[in-house]
């Protein structure tokens, strides 16, 4: 090991947090990677930072290298338990144990892979997956794909499992419930009572059913006939105020029940669907037809009606850190979609302008106070930094 040498550069963007048991947490914000390292290695890190001048690291005692230090990759993409509550992708249960020792070569490979060390200046960032099984690279969608592959789960099932209880009758007690549900409850009661509403991309029909409880007429449509079958089975026989469901392809406007959309509605709503219009590879058909999709939404709404877009906020998935009573976020990009998947405000307004729509109002829902009892840190952060927004649109 004493002969081992590499030209390496410490990435000045690496963030160090001292945590319990003489351990450092190293966080690389561009790849959202986390490393646990012995705090005793601080002098070695100092040497590395200094080595930026000389550019050569030797894995020997002269450079402060100590083979007995423990180190571990503590990155976790816990997609099946609400990624947005761990958007820094940190495995909080990980600890350093006696066996967590790597050779200097292994340490260098790991730290180069996670972007804490680099072999050239300026540092070149590689965000794209190299293959399907390449974990912790690619956008949020792409990481969902890898997580589903490794867990043998079908992505459409993951989405429903993350948001809803297994019986699909209620949302899980997460931010979906304490932010989105609670906000929609109030909004629907205040605005949709006695009105007609259609939910486009209704999935398994949960929200359409809620709308049916307060509205005069509620229709749920989705291009996926499997979802519509589930919606009909799940929500039939709910009594007065039943919603109706139909298959509708919002791109070509074909439907199995044209009579349901013959009359325009007071409100058209899309929930957690709009963002898919902006991702070129996730659902290419939606991306290439996004203007048509919005123009078709406009066909469904009355002249003085409103189109409601409830969608992840551009700041969705901002990693947050620090004092649980006053957490703060680290934003490493906004315009580039290395990881983030929500469109920017500029992308949104460009498309709306193109499709003949305009924003009348923007809502940025805060969590219900009850969220504090379930997840105080997330409650505090999402009280400051919005997780969703709802755009109220008019047809120009």
């Amino acid at each position: 090991m004493g002969n081992m040498s590499e030209i390496v550069i410490w990435n000045p963007g690496t963030i160090l947090f001292p945590i319990a048991n003489a351990t450092l947490r190293l966080y690389q914000p561009h790849y959202r990677r986390n490393i646990l390292l012995d705090q005793a290695a601080m002098g070695w890190i100092d040497n590395l930072v200094t080595a930026a001048d000389k550019g050569i690291l030797r894995c020997d005692a002269a450079d402060g290298w100590n083979a007995s230090w423990r180190i571990k990759d503590a990155t976790k993409f816990n997609i099946f338990d609400n990624a947005y509550e761990n958007s820094a992708m940190f495995d909080a249960d990980a600890t350093l144990v006696a066996g967590d020792k790597l050779t200097c070569k292994e340490v260098l490979e790991l730290l180069i892979d996670v972007g804490i060390l680099a072999t050239q200046w300026p540092i070149e960032y590689k965000h794209d997956k190299q293959h399907f099984g390449d974990a912790f690279r690619g956008s949020f969608y792409e990481q969902i794909g890898t997580a589903c592959l490794m867990n043998r789960r079908i992505p459409t099932e993951w989405w429903a499992d993350q948001k809803f209880e297994k019986n699909r009758l209620s949302t899980r007690l997460t931010a979906y419930h304490y932010v989105q549900d609670r906000f929609l409850d109030g909004f629907l009661e205040d605005h949709v009572a006695g009105k007609s509403i259609i939910e486009v991309g209704c999935g398994t029909g949960y929200y359409t059913n809620r709308m049916a409880q307060v509205s005069d007429k509620a229709v749920g449509v989705d291009y996926n006939s499997d979802y519509i079958d589930i919606a009909k089975k799940t929500w039939s026989g709910q009594g007065e105020g039943d919603a109706t469901y139909a298959v509708l392809d919002i791109i070509d406007f074909s439907t199995d029940q044209p009579e349901l959309i013959a009359e325009p509605f007071d409100y058209v709503i899309m929930i957690d669907t709009f963002l898919f219009l902006f991702h070129e590879s996730y659902q290419p058909q939606l991306f290439s037809n996004r203007k048509t999709v919005l123009q078709n939404l406009a066909k469904l709404v009355k002249k003085d009606g409103r189109i409601l877009i409830m969608d992840p906020h551009p700041l969705f998935l901002t990693p947050f850190f620090g004092d649980p009573n006053r957490p703060f976020g680290i934003l490493e990009s906004y315009n580039s979609h290395y990881f983030r998947v929500a469109p920017t405000l500029a992308e949104i307004t460009e498309l709306l302008e193109d499709a003949g729509l305009a924003i009348a109002r923007i809502f940025e829902p805060k969590p219900h106070p009850d969220f504090d009892k379930v997840n105080p840190k997330s409650h505090k952060f999402y009280s400051e930094v919005p997780m969703w927004h709802m755009l109220e649109l008019i047809v120009r």
């Binding site: 293959h131 099984g133 974990a135 794909g145 592959l149 590879s281």
Partner: protein, 80 residues
């Protein structure tokens, strides 16, 4: 089961996953060679391959797969 037998059975898996009776596979074929072979279909392909051959792949084995030939060899190794 010979590697040829595995490739023949695997062809049926591909035809089922991609709903394409005309698809042809070769050992050198990769996802880049077939447009519909995206990440979602890759998940379905792995799950269907495991179910068809009655085998389980580790995450490390899945992560190493680059081409159809790798998948054939992996299945052959599992079947002994």
């Amino acid at each position: 089961m010979t590697q040829d037998d595995i490739q023949t059975t695997l062809l049926g898996v591909f035809r089922k996953v991609f709903s394409d009776e005309d698809i042809v596979i070769s050992e050198e074929m990769t996802a880049a060679d077939y447009e519909a072979w995206d990440s979602l279909n890759h998940i379905m392909l792995i799950m269907e391959t495991e179910a068809t051959f009655g085998v389980k792949f580790s995450n490390a084995e899945v992560a190493r797969l680059q081409k159809v030939g790798d998948l054939i060899k992996l299945v052959a190794g599992k079947l002994g």
